[in-house]
């Protein structure tokens, strides 16, 4: 799995990020890397328990940030949480961060939100940083040119204690998306198209750099969605080289360098790009014009097809193991073999999660929903309390409410099935989340992943639907 060193002096963006954090490189290839930012959440309690067992202290509490997101309720009282187990999880994080002098964006903080929304929004996530969090979607932060990846509880304990982490250098993969996507195509469509093509393990052992004109044209919000989903292709991390779009996004963010320090930083950050002749261990080329609105039909993010397609028919599948996989996935999802995707009726919709809950996502959904009514119930949970505020200032909450959807507080909400927001057993949900795993949104829940605009299209149609006719002639 160890990547070979580039023979030439040209280096990839990933090589540069790696070198900048290398404290020790052992002969066996294991490297000790410095961690610039460490985000913790309610689920980090195993690691704090580990510290308590060893009577250990946190090496760099100033570089560690707590965010309450996984368990927080999005409806009902947030100051007096009704469910005692959920209340205990939220309180436990507050206790652990207070004990170690770690700043917490808790429920009483107006900046609270999903950790992968809050980090970039606050300017904590910056180009050139190494960022870890005990959450697989930490890959999100690579959108700003940071080397960011999810870790387990033992590693969280290690980072808390030492502010460092042992890593083997992954291989480098470049996914170039060139050309112009058609109207109605979002970063989520690009991400799902890539995963459908390379598979849910297509990038295992690799750091992905997303490049090409279609990536350059994406907003930071779109890049965050794309890098967020890179873990669903198995990647160690996803990256987009920082550029003018990145710098404009970061300028003035509370925890980013300010004034002249910012300008100096931009000079340094501009060097975080792959050199022209740098070589990658693998390359994938995608034409943006070929990407259609895409939805998942099965129980892995790789089970994704353009909305005008039909779900597979196991009877037509020559490979026996593959046919069995298709049968089991379709059986769980309650879909007849060969059925047209656009004929699949949904029971509810969800807009939210670290994948698609930023202001641009809410605008895209609202553009479809404006003046229309949802045929099914649904929940909209903004990615942070600040996103919620902004959406309300823009009147988006009214559009969602007028369409019949519920406008909730910020948190991981219906993506994780642990905070009270659940999809019922056997229910089918069109969702902007990242995982269509069995039971992910609740035991027995059936999830179809898609972009916010496509979820809005499903809402107003009552079934999976192509968003393009619904936005024709509308202002996006």
């Amino acid at each position: 799995m160890q990547a070979t060193e580039s023979r030439s002096a040209e280096r990839t963006l990933f090589d540069k990020l790696w070198t900048a954090h290398e404290i020790v490189r052992r002969d066996d290839g294991d490297c000790l890397l410095f961690v610039d930012r460490h985000y913790v959440h309610e689920g980090s309690f195993h690691a704090f328990n580990r510290l308590a067992e060893r009577s250990a202290t946190v090496a760099e509490p100033g570089l560690t940030f707590g965010v309450a997101d996984h368990y927080v309720p999005t409806r009902g009282s947030r100051s007096a949480i009704a469910n005692p187990e959920v209340a205990r999880m939220v309180r436990q994080l507050a206790d652990n961060t207070a004990r170690h002098g770690i700043r917490l964006f808790g429920l009483d903080d107006p900046r609270q939100g999903i950790v992968h929304v809050v980090g970039p929004e606050q300017g904590l996530t910056l180009p050139g940083l190494l960022i870890v969090c005990g959450d697989s979607h930490t890959s999100t932060h690579g959108a700003l040119g940071a080397f960011a990846f999810g870790i387990g509880a033992s590693e969280v304990a290690h980072v808390l204690t030492t502010q460092t982490i042992w890593q083997r250098k992954p291989k480098r993969m470049r996914i170039a998306v060139n050309g112009s996507p058609g109207p109605g195509i979002a970063a989520k469509d690009i991400a799902l198209s890539i995963i459908a093509r390379i598979g849910a393990d297509g990038a295992t052992g690799h750091a992905i750099e997303f490049a090409g004109t279609a990536i350059r044209a994406l907003s930071v919000e779109g890049r965050l969605t794309l890098c967020n989903m890179s873990i669903e292709a198995g990647a160690r991390c996803g990256l987009v080289a920082p550029d003018a779009t990145t710098f404009a996004y970061l300028k003035g963010r509370p925890f980013a360098p300010q004034g002249a320090d910012f300008d100096r930083a931009v000079e340094d950050w501009s060097g975080f790009a792959s050199d022209a002749g740098a070589t990658f261990d693998s390359e994938v080329q995608i034409d943006a014009a070929d990407i259609a609105p895409i939805v998942t039909w099965g129980t892995s993010p790789e089970d994704a097809l353009p909305i005008d397609a039909r779900v597979p028919d196991p009877a037509q599948e020559p490979d026996e193991a593959r046919a069995r996989y298709l049968r089991e996935a379709l059986d769980y999802m309650g879909i007849a073999p060969g059925k047209r995707l656009a004929d699949i009726a949904v029971d509810r919709v969800f807009i939210g999660s670290c994948t698609n809950s930023r202001i641009e996502d809410l605008r895209a959904a609202a553009a479809v929903l404006a003046g229309r009514v949802s045929k099914v119930p649904g929940l909209v949970s903004p990615g942070s309390s600040l996103v919620k505020q902004q959406a309300e200032a823009e009147g988006l909450d009214r559009i969602f409410r007028d369409a019949g959807l519920e406008w909730a507080e910020s948190g991981c909400s219906m993506c994780v099935g642990i905070n009270g927001d659940l999809v019922g057993a056997g229910e089918r949900c069109a969702s902007t989340t990242n995982r269509n795993f069995r039971g992910r949104q609740g035991p027995g829940a059936r999830t179809h992943l898609m972009s916010p605009a496509m979820v809005a299209a499903a809402a107003v149609s009552g079934h999976l639907a192509d968003v393009r006719p619904l936005i024709a002639g509308r202002k996006a």
């Binding site: 799995m1 160890q2 404290i23 020790v24 052992r26 066996d28 000790l32 410095f34 689920g43 195993h46 060893r54 187990e85 205990r88 999880m89 700043r103 910056l126 050139g128 940083l129 005990g134 959450d135 697989s136 870790i151 387990g152 509880a153 033992s154 590693e155 304990a157 290690h158 204690t161 030492t162 502010q163 042992w166 083997r168 598979g199 849910a200 393990d201 295992t204 198995g234 990647a235 160690r236 509370p254 925890f255 360098p257 300010q258 100096r264 930083a265 340094d268 950050w269 892995s300 193991a321 996989y325 099935g417 642990i418 057993a425 995982r435 795993f437 069995r438 039971g439 035991p443 027995g444």
Partner: protein, 213 residues
């Protein structure tokens, strides 16, 4: 951490592609401390039906495999969520080794931290080993980490594992002890880094407020 050197034990085939950590440990058990007994939560929604009755067809529920210490899985075993409790659940159930053609990256890292061997074999070998077990369910497998071999009946298969991870498992090393031996290097890095990357530090104005009384 317990060492892993050699193991001869019953092995259960579980040939499900993309068996993610949400399946291995369903989210509702994430609140549990490990002391609550995560082994009972392992693969809960596959081992038990909605009425909490054992699923008779599920391999781990078969008498020959109920006490298996080895699982044979399909590609991308342990993909998805970073939850280390998925490894706790496997380990506390009694699983010491998972054999599969590929593993989720974070899962494989979590496994080595807890003394669980994630052994990589080819797709074909995984299929052949699983088929042999289905044909002869009581056939034990012998895993030799030193030699990186799996003995199945009279056939021997080799498996891959990152050499550093192999050493850690063989010796039961703890990362923290290793890191502490590099304390001087860490200190030196931080001094140099402050000059090299001033923008990596947080602006002074954002220093944490004194904690509430």
């Amino acid at each position: 951490m317990d060492k892993f050197t050699r193991l001869t034990a019953a092995a259960c085939p579980l040939m499900v592609e993309n068996l993610n950590t949400d399946q291995i440990l369903p989210a509702r058990f994430l609140k549990w401390p490990r002391s609550q007994g995560l082994g009972q939560a392992l693969l809960r929604d596959m081992r038990f039906d909605a009425e909490d009755r054992e699923a008779v067809d599920f391999p781990l529920n078969r008498p020959e495999w109920r006490k298996a210490h080895i699982l044979v899985g399909a590609r991308n075993f342990g993909c998805g969520s970073s939850r280390e409790a998925a490894v706790y659940a496997l380990y506390d159930y009694g699983i010491r080794c998972v054999i599969a053609p590929s593993f989720g990256d974070i899962f494989a890292g979590n496994a080595v931290q807890n003394g669980l061997l994630a052994a990589i074999v080819s797709d074909d070998d995984a299929e052949v080993i699983a088929a042999a077990l289905i044909h002869a369910p009581t056939l034990p497998l012998t895993i030799d980490l030193e030699q990186q071999t799996i003995l199945c009946g009279n056939r021997t298969y080799t498996f891959a594992i990152d050499p550093v991870r192999r050493l850690r498992l063989l010796n039961g090393w703890d990362d923290l002890d290793l890191t502490q031996s590099y304390a001087a290097d860490i200190a030196a890095f931080k001094t140099k880094d402050g000059i090299r990357r001033p923008w990596a530090a947080l602006p002074r104005a954002t220093a944490p407020r004194p904690s509430k009384e």
